[in-house]
Assembly symmetry: C2
Homo-oligomer: 538 residues x 2
């Protein structure tokens, strides 16, 4: 996730500034320093894997392809050294897989005399469109600096270059801006070093699993692998931050695949180490030059921190950590409870950032209520484990009150579906969170999902993050087959469109969808899209 | 010097390939390896001087300026840290002097969140036009890679950057290609490290010297200083090679100023270490990744190697080196003597590269003859010192024959001027070399220089290299005042045009003159222009 709406920021910041008047965090400074220390001690060393390019390829405009380009194989990658390249020549290398890491290559000159530096442009692409055309003029809403290209000047040949920055890519385009009239260059020994904190990959799904599902599972795992660095990044090409919403889904998938518990633990402590003045966890954390909290606060993400702690403790059986983080969990619940109105409905303050999904038309009232009630249930389970019985009692009471209030406010017994907001908007988001929170029964949920399929103008999910919770809710109310079909159609759609890793945004009906006004800056390996491996394997 | 004419290359190469049939070099391989070793042992450690920027400046288009731009001071450089810079903002720093070296700076971000890399473009300029406008589209004949700009992406702020490459500059333009909508940057602690192998600067000329001459002297010294690196480079912005023609003029100026004899000695050995198969020294030598000879052979440069050795021995009194290099000197003379026709006139083979000057209209016959005869005189002096009496006798005989032949062929007793070629072309180059070679008497030379001033369509020098030999010839035939006037008008013209260091090309009547089809790629600190300090001080 990366924020695009500046007005949203400003409102959110103003709100949060107001919130700093509330009671100070229950955690003290020395404790937070200790948590940071714990997080840093858990910082993993990355595994490095050498990856050689497979082919030289050429992008062909192709309207039949979802991304509008296909890659045509020109020759094996080892023919690169036979290419004599001069001004305006270019070549695209295909590494045959997505990776997060570094690039190195050797370069030599030949001709009458190597009498000038070599100026190259290197462009890294996760998908074909990034290397098919030029990046500029760029009209995206996010920084141009996220587009992965470098202009480099090489003074001396022969030379071996190890590019210092990290990239996320499958393709590398090398363009010769200039040599001199007296020499040409040859490139050789191109090699990438793929980095990840994920360990050995889990065995693939059994042969009995349909091929498409096996592919979806493999792409999920590749996505998670390339996002697992020294934190669970949201997307290695861009943003690269640790966000709670993405973390939770990655952690779940990680438990079903790589089972790197320490990385989750590190991330939980990172959030704990940098709360806002009132104790609310920030939506994201930066790692460099040293860890610090992001400037965004997302109401539903703070609530989901609770679930992320519980998921972790259950998966790892590390209840010591859960107990240590209990004050943080309790504090999120305390802060968020203040937004619960007297009638038992959750009402985020105007201007606070409630994410839920990336569909701007979505009325988030019911879904946000659902997330909070869902979190009450996770907090309740944690309270019991942490010996916090007074809180458990309170959460239980609160759950009963809010579930009842929600049924009245959001469940339409005539339509047998959940609605949200003054216009009684029908959305997939609302159904998902009404189910996951336990506000509606399994049967009601199943019926609601059946009903919504017949309502074409119901608000659809805008991105994989919500698709996950929809699939999870379907499974929760017994619609396993429907969940599988959703996975096959949605994530399978990306696989069929050529995804090596799952994308940040995917709308089967709109290939040009970008929350940032440019698909070039979309992330094509994105954490919150990695969950099919979890859904299929659990 | 840098070669621009590819056809010239091809012809030259073909000729030289033919020449490889002649007798092998008198120097053997182990001797050449030893000479390389000597050269490498003399490789200097560079002196580093920290240089802070002086001002923030703004280029103003100004048709009254020779280079069409003037720099307006905006504020002191230390106001830079107060500048908050975002996408499309830029700033130009003026270091107040030309320097060859490195740049470092610190950068920090401020705003809501530093949530994207920073993408900067840095442009280094020796003169205002290089930072006043964009480099592209670039139509110069030399590599675009010589233009000094970098695009850099900085992943983490705050940061301190030390750019790895070396630049030649007075101005640095920093353009912010992008930050993100959420943060801006501030730059601070910008600092350059000026590099040179020149030691302490000589005291300036006395107060009695007219101000303009004092300025010319100072600019000469700055030019030499910034070209003195681990060899005498021809121009630190571009090419950067060691060329014999440039070396000789730098060495002469060095003897009158920095007196770094070892650097000259290193350069002489570098040429000696890499002769062509027949023993001819190449016109230039590259240093990196390890020393190797350039691909160009210039007839007059090979001849001037002789003078460069003699100059060195005289200035340093190091006759041991002269004697060690005597076989190389002798060999140049042997090779070049093959081009002397039976009638005693020097006739370079068709297609061989005879430089003399950068004026394409110049008939080089007489001047080249003059350079060779000049070299005979230097070789004669060396032969005596090296105990090579048979050669001395031969050189003396040859000198007498060729001087006589030249008088007949080139001296027009009616016009009292020297001419060249079938069209009896009158040029400054011809007069200069007829004087320096001793072919005409001082009186004849002085008269010729007086006469040529009255001939407007006489071929003028095309670059400072030949202007030097004209001035030197004027002094040699007693026209000290005229030489001084030439220095004042030509090099003084550059000073008045704002030169901090002397330029590769300067035609007072044509500011847009470039041998490379773009003044942007001209060198504005160029070795062969540094000689006024020598002419004024000797």
């Amino acid at each position: 996730m990366l924020v695009t709406d500046r007005r949203q920021f400003l409102k959110s910041a103003a709100l949060m500034a107001g919130a700093s008047g509330v009671a100070q965090s229950g955690t003290d400074e020395s404790q937070r320093a200790q948590w940071l220390d714990t997080a840093e001690r858990l910082k993993p060393r990355l595994h490095a894997t050498q990856v050689a390019p497979v082919s030289i390829v050429k992008p062909i405009a192709d309207a039949s392809q979802f991304l509008r380009w296909r890659m045509e194989r020109v020759s094996p990658a080892d023919t690169l050294r036979e290419r004599v390249m001069r001004r305006a020549d270019s070549v695209i290398l295909d590494f045959g897989r997505h990776l997060t890491g570094h690039l190195e290559f050797s370069i030599d000159g030949e001709g009458r005399g190597i009498d000038a530096p070599t100026r190259l442009k290197l462009t890294f692409g996760e998908v074909a469109p990034e290397v098919a055309g030029p990046f500029d003029p760029y009209h995206g809403a996010l920084s141009r600096a996220w587009l992965q290209d470098e202009v480099i000047n090489i003074d001396v040949l022969p030379n071996t270059l190890q590019l210092p920055r990290r990239y996320a890519f499958r393709y590398v385009k090398v363009e010769v801006i200039d040599t001199s009239p007296n020499y040409a260059i040859r490139l050789d020994r191109v090699q990438a070093t793929a980095l990840s904190s994920a360990g050995a990959e889990p065995p693939p799904l059994g042969k009995a699993t349909p091929e498409l599902l096996r592919q979806i599972d493999a792409v999920s795992i590749a996505t998670l692998r390339d996002c697992m660095q020294t934190v669970f990044e949201d997307g290695p090409k861009r943003d690269r931050r640790l966000w709670i919403g993405d973390l939770r889904l990655q952690a779940l998938t990680n438990y079903a695949t790589f089972r790197n518990f320490d990385l989750v633990k590190r991330c939980l402590y990172l959030f704990a180490a940098f709360p806002r003045e009132d104790g609310m966890v920030s939506a994201c954390v930066f790692e460099d030059p040293k860890p610090y909290r992001g400037h965004e606060y997302i109401v539903d993400y703070a609530a989901l921190y609770v679930a992320t702690v519980l998921d972790y403790a259950k998966a790892s059986n590390d209840w010591v950590t859960a107990r240590e983080l209990w004050p943080v969990v309790q504090q999120q619940m305390e802060i968020l409870e203040r937004y619960v109105r007297g009638d038992g409905l959750f009402a985020a303050p105007a201007g606070a950032w409630v994410f839920i999904d990336w569909n701007n038309r979505l009325d988030r009232t019911a879904a946000m209520h659902g997330v909070f009630v869902y979190s009450l249930r996770q907090a309740l389970a944690l309270a019991h484990k942490c010996g916090a019985e007074p809180q458990a009692t309170e959460y239980e009471r609160r759950f009963a009150q809010m579930a009842a209030a929600a049924r009245t406010a959001f469940y339409d017994p005539v339509l047998q579906i959940c609605v949200s907001g003054p216009k009684r908007q029908i959305s997939w988001a609302t159904q998902a969170w009404m189910v996951l929170s336990g506000i509606v029964t399994k049967e009601e949920g199943a019926q609601a999902f059946r009903a919504i399929r017949e309502i074409p103008d119901a608000i659809h999910p805008g991105a994989p993050y919500l698709y996950h919770y929809v699939a999870e809710a379907m499974i929760a109310c017994g619609l396993k087959q429907e969940a599988l079909e959703l996975i096959e159609s949605y994530w399978g759609g990306m696989v069929k469109a050529g995804a090596d890793t799952f994308w940040e945004v995917y709308d089967p009906s709109n290939a040009m969808l970008s929350p940032y006004n440019s698909v070039l800056v979309n992330s094509y390996c994105h954490a919150w899209s990695c969950t099919p491996a979890y859904l299929l394997r659990r």
